[in-house]
Amino acid sequence: MKENPIFTLKARHRILSFKGIIVILSLFNVALFVISLGIGRYSISPSLILNALAIKLFHIGGAVGSTINTVIFDIRLPRVIAALLIGASLSESGAAYQGIFDNPLVSPFTLGLSSGAGFGAGLAILIGGNELVIQLFAFVFAVISVILSIVIGREKNESNSVTLVLAGFIVSSFFTSLISFLKYYADPYTKLPSIVFWLMGSLSNITMKNILINGLIMIVAIIMLYFLRWKLNILSLGDEETRLLGENPKKLKYFIIFLSTLLTSLSVSLSGVIGWVGLVVPHIGRMLIGPNFRKLLPVTILAGSFYLLLIDDVSRVISASEVPIGILTALIGTPIFIYIMWRGKYKW
């Protein structure tokens, strides 16, 4: 009987119940949502924000100045929504990926997605594409990189997770060198900084317009993946037992990869490469509630949206000029990951 020690982290001192964690995380999200609309160069008090929201949504309460309305609804709201959605998407896909690959070091970027997206965005910048073209290219090449990894890593008889991870590594390296190639040929005064900045990830350019389509598809995909949480549990018993329980493991895996890829590609096309979220947050979720996907997925979704919104807030207020969020997620993510690794060491 093989035991994967990674996933048997015991529920030591688990003080909170599942429902308790869900309620608390939801409240955290709501509170941070309101606070996030207020903080920044132009500071707005929470009561004023609630007032503005009440007028906008229910047409009740006192009038609010137009500057405040612009700052809240045109500048900050799209960004806050994007942070919530992208955080949830990356984290949920990360949890699903770690589950189907049976590997705790896997993230949504394992199949070369971020490098593919980076190359697509870089290419679009180089040919002078606008915001929308960059978004489209990033999305398309993100999807292409995953398809390439699957084609290369596919084994004749069984879908072997290790070869798939290896194929992802190869594809990722391939696109990384293509990115270097683009950087080398890009105009160092105009194009190169844009490419570098895109690769560091940022939520600063998000508008309501470009989040609308992505956001809607993301919500649908988040919900679909959420409803597969029970199937993810079955899949964790291995391909043979999944079959014995009347489910096609290959089909199921590819469908979950499809949904995760969709979520991650849409996220990355909006924000650039934001690393470490999809790797770290599922582990935080597992620490909070354990590895049963039925509970892990909802906790991971809520923890992920909160986590990314919090980091984006930090990136906005930490200095006069913004720090790219991709740098912060890595800077904050690594120590958290080390902590999880050490804390769980006795069980790894």
């Binding site: 093989k2 549990n233 079959r243 049963n292």
Partner: protein, 256 residues
Amino acid sequence: MIRVENLAFAYNGTEIFKNLSIEVNEGEIFTILGPNGSGKTTLLKCIERILIPKSGNISIYGKDIKDYSIKELGRIISSVPQQHRITFSYTVLDIVLMGRNPYLDFFSLPSERDVQIAMKALEEVGIAHLKASPYTEISGGELRLTLIARVLAQETPVVILDEPTAFLDFKNEFLILNKIRELKTKKGLTIIMTLHDPNLAMRFSDRILMLTRGKILAIGTPDEVLTSENLKSLYEIETEKMESEGKSYFYPKSPS
């Protein structure tokens, strides 16, 4: 009910068996005996359609298993695998509930009715009190019972058990086989299992298949098949048949 015709199977060119034909009748306990590497598990996995044979046919209810979808097959055959990979600390009830999967739509979760069926299965094998325990922390015997409960929750007419007594102590192997026979009688299940102990096979089987290097050595009722000669060709060991109070059993002789 289950007909295996001219089955041939090879792992990367190594032939496990060929021209194997057997038939399993409805409502019987069909036990496969054979030394390690004789092809028992391979045969079971072919019937489960986890392994695809090189040639030959397997049919259930007169229909080739190729023509069943995975989901349909999941409603006909359920199985307690020899090796169960323990991953997450699911509760015992969670594991048994997974047996309801062939009846669920792609995006749905088990309903209240599925929970009731799973609970009934737990009661039938007598471990309802363990329902909330993490199944990573129960004993080997309880784990087998959990997997048997899962098979019951799957509500299939055919149940396959690959070495249901593996890793079990003296008492538990007896209890499990007793439970299997009881459930077979009560529900009219068709059971195919592999065992290592001829004495347990004698006691709990309706028919026995002796398999050695992919060939059928003998097939028939325990009385017909279990002889010292057959056991010698099967396991290459001398045995002595003992009889007591109308029951017989085999005792291996020390090598001389």
